[in-house]
């Protein structure tokens, strides 16, 4: 496990172990924000960025502060605090230095704090004993994988608006069934590379 190169982990996190389609993380915003492609792209970018950086910060905090002090059981509360603080920081930073980007990403940033994929990526990274480089690869790959999934879904949903769906299936149920097909398609990548 520990010898797997970061590139392999990155590719696996995007395709074979897609954080959304195999680990079901980030479903809430996936369902709520996959109506339009532009929205999906914006949210996907923001998630990728935040996930990569928080994976790094949380790695450092876990291995240099929590583990030596035997405070591992506090990891949940510390991780979520780091994520919330970081998102806030990024938001203020972008608002100050690039108002244009702020308007493009702005509304998605606060959403990210409650995106379980971010916290999930940090927890998986600890669970699987990745080293620092692997963690960065995993954080980035998981973010890209999430973005790919939500953008694909947004494209499908835009088409779906014109199809004739039975009444009880309208909205979320049909979205789940489409996600099921998407997940099956991604299973086709299985065997390409593998992490646990």
């Amino acid at each position: 496990m520990s010898e797997t190169s970061a590139i392999v982990i990155l590719i696996a996190a995007v395709f074979t172990n897609n954080i959304l389609l195999t680990n079901f993380l980030g479903m809430c915003s996936f369902i709520a924000c996959s109506g339009q492609i532009e929205t999906a792209v914006g949210l996907g970018t923001a998630v990728t960025f935040v996930m990569t950086v928080t994976a790094m910060i949380n790695y450092a905090i876990y291995h240099f502060i929590l583990a030596p002090l035997n405070l591992v059981h506090l990891q949940f509360i510390v991780f979520i605090a780091v994520i919330a603080a970081f998102v806030q920081l990024v938001e203020m930073f972008i608002e100050r230095f690039s108002p244009k980007l702020y308007f493009a990403l702005g509304i998605f940033l606060p959403l990210i704090t409650v995106n379980c994929a971010i916290l999930g990526a940090s927890l998986f990274m600890i669970n699987r004993n990745y080293n620092f480089v692997q963690s960065v690869g995993f954080g980035f790959g998981a973010g890209v994988g999430w973005a790919v999934a939500i953008i694909l879904m947004a494209g499908l949903r835009q088409k779906m608006r014109y199809s004739n769906i039975p009444q009880p299936f309208k909205g979320v149920p049909i979205a789940m069934i489409v996600t099921c097909v998407l997940a099956m398609a991604f299973m086709g990548f299985a065997g390409m590379v593998s992490i646990q």
Binding site: L21, T22, N23, F24, L25, G26, M27, C28, S29, I31, A32, C33, G35, H73, L74, Q75, F76, I77, F79, I80, A81, A84, I107, P110, L111, T113, V114, N115, C116, L119, G120, L123, F124, N127, R157, R161, P166, Q167, P168, F169, K170, G171, V172, P173, I174, A175, M176, I177, T179, C180, V181, A183, M184, M187
Partner: protein, 221 residues
């Protein structure tokens, strides 16, 4: 916080319905606005842990515990929490209860803790808990908040158990280790245990729920 926004409107309709009565609150959380099937909150963990009924039950219990605990404390502190920092206060309270449950699992049910893995920790970002704290516990007295937390946790647990039972039954032909579909005529469909089965079952369950409840007033996109 569009998630927060959703929860607020979910809570808004609920508040109108409950009107302060315990039983109404209970019915509302467990059935009429079932967090999972109607409001579609907290689906991440709902999909991830339902490959077996046993896991679903433990997860349901965890959610009831965290929901009741966090609702109680958020409600007790509701007059002392400054409005601006209420989010972080709620997250801190929720995280505390999640840690308690996680430690409990690790101490007494190590195998289960191993199987659920990071999904126990992910209860913190489960929108239901946060949503109830934000929408209900902040405005209501402690006892009623406990009822509400229990009702929502219970509604979630029931929905989880249904999905978990379906997936385990069709995926491996048995429930909690009892063989129900004999291997002579039923070939277990492995797909139900894997990820696509989760999405599929969940979609069907919500569709059935919608069909029973009748046409929804809010038009889907």
């Amino acid at each position: 916080m569009s998630d927060g926004g959703q929860q607020l409107c979910g809570g808004g309709t609920c508040k109108g319905l409950c009107g302060g009565k315990g039983f109404e609150t209970l019915k509302d959380g467990a059935w009429t606005s079932n967090p999972l099937a109607i409001q579609v909150l907290g689906i991440c963990s709902a999909l991830a842990v339902t490959n077996r009924l046993e896991n679903s039950l433990v997860m349901g219990a965890a959610l009831i515990f965290v929901c009741v605990g966090s609702n109680l404390f958020v409600s007790l502190l509701r007059k002392h929490t400054p409005h601006r920092i209420r989010m972080i206060a709620e997250v801190a309270i929720i995280a505390t209860f999640v840690i308690l449950f996680d430690q409990f699992l690790k101490a007494f049910y190590w195998d289960m803790s191993k199987q659920l893995g990071p999904y126990v920790g992910l209860i913190i970002t489960n929108c239901i808990v946060m949503g109830r704290a934000e929408a209900f516990a902040l405005q209501n007295p402690p006892v009623l908040s406990i009822v509400d937390g229990f009702a929502n946790g219970f509604g979630y647990a029931v929905a989880l158990a249904v999905i978990g039972a379906c997936r385990e039954l069709f995926g491996s032909g048995e429930i909690l280790g009892y063989k129900l579909l004999s291997a002579t005529w039923y070939e277990p469909n492995q797909l139900m245990i894997l990820a696509p089965g989760a999405f599929f079952t969940f979609g069907i369950v919500i569709a059935v729920f919608n069909a029973i409840k009748g046409p929804d007033e809010e038009e889907s996109k």
